[in-house]
């Protein structure tokens, strides 16, 4: 049976500022401008799996199981949190959508059955998104 790609989307809201703790305050303000000030986003995350539908159920994955993984790995970690202060991922790098997407890809890839995650799309806002396709942190 051929592979099928399926996508589940969720939305979460966080506060953040683009800030690299390894850089000086002046360097952060120079690099990030207004984004160095505290602000927030409604992120939209699209999680795409690719696999062969089960012959009995006709499903690549039970969407409830996928939602459980997304809730546990993404929503609890990030929704209504501050990315800089409430999560351990941005002590050495700023919470840009590139870096946040890499964290999300890594935790989802570890939690999902091996080989099932095709890629993610993370919208920081309606006009900005990052795609990660293929094995995490490859780029």
């Amino acid at each position: 049976m051929p592979n099928v790609r399926l996508t589940r989307a969720v939305e979460f809201s966080t506060s953040l500022r683009y800030w690299n703790p390894e850089l000086s305050e002046a360097a952060n303000r120079e690099a990030f401008g207004r984004k160095a000030a505290p602000h927030g986003h409604n992120y939209r995350l699209e999680v795409t799996l690719c696999g062969e539908p089960d012959r009995l159920t006709g499903m690549v994955i039970d969407l409830k199981d996928l939602q459980d993984v997304i809730d546990r790995e993404v929503m609890i970690r990030f929704d209504h949190r501050d990315l800089n202060r409430d999560t351990p991922y941005f002590d050495k790098e700023p919470p840009t959508p590139e870096n946040l997407a890499r964290v999300i890809d890594r935790v989802l890839r570890a939690a999902l059955p091996s080989g099932l995650l095709y890629g993610i799309r993370l919208f920081e806002d309606a006009d900005t998104f990052v795609e990660l396709i293929g094995p995490g942190d490859a780029a």
């Binding site: 990030f32 700023p94 840009t96 590139e98 870096n99 890499r102 990052v130 490859a138 780029a139």
Partner: protein, 139 residues
């Protein structure tokens, strides 16, 4: 592969009319889009860039540099203009296909010059909410 996409908009006018064809042939090929007085669209433009994430900035390309390049080379040039009068369309009818190709050709070298390894991989042009056109690598 990690890629960043930014969305932009520009309003532009065009006439779908090949100067080498008769009025009758233009009307037959392009229908109402051949109206010699012109018509226009609010074009939606998605620019997708891949490359390494810079460890200090956490970004594939600085957002303000990318925005400035797209503004200078595409939005300010094509926006609020009659596309048929632009040199990019001296030899080609400004169909959405050709606008997408011209945008890719215009931006690819400029984006490659922003950072080593930065590369334009996709241009997606929405002419209306019903019609969109992509050039470059598929997702």
């Amino acid at each position: 592969m990690i890629a960043l996409t930014r969305r932009y908009r520009f309003p532009a006018a065009h006439v779908l009319r090949h100067p080498g064809l008769s009025d009758a042939d233009n009307a037959r090929i392009y229908g109402k889009c051949a109206n010699p007085a012109g018509h226009g669209h609010d074009y939606g433009l998605e620019i997708t860039v891949t490359g390494e994430v810079d460890p200090a900035s956490g970004q594939i390309v600085p957002r303000d540099r990318l925005d400035a390049l797209v503004a200078e080379r595409v939005l300010d040039r094509f926006g609020h203009s009659l596309l048929n009068e632009d040199p990019a369309f001296a030899e080609r009818v400004p169909t959405a296909e050709n606008i997408a190709l011209a945008t890719f050709a215009e931006l690819a070298p400029a984006i490659a010059a922003v950072r080593p390894g930065a590369r334009l991989v996709r241009v997606r042009l929405e002419e209306t909410r019903k019609n969109s056109f992509e050039t470059g690598e598929a997702r």
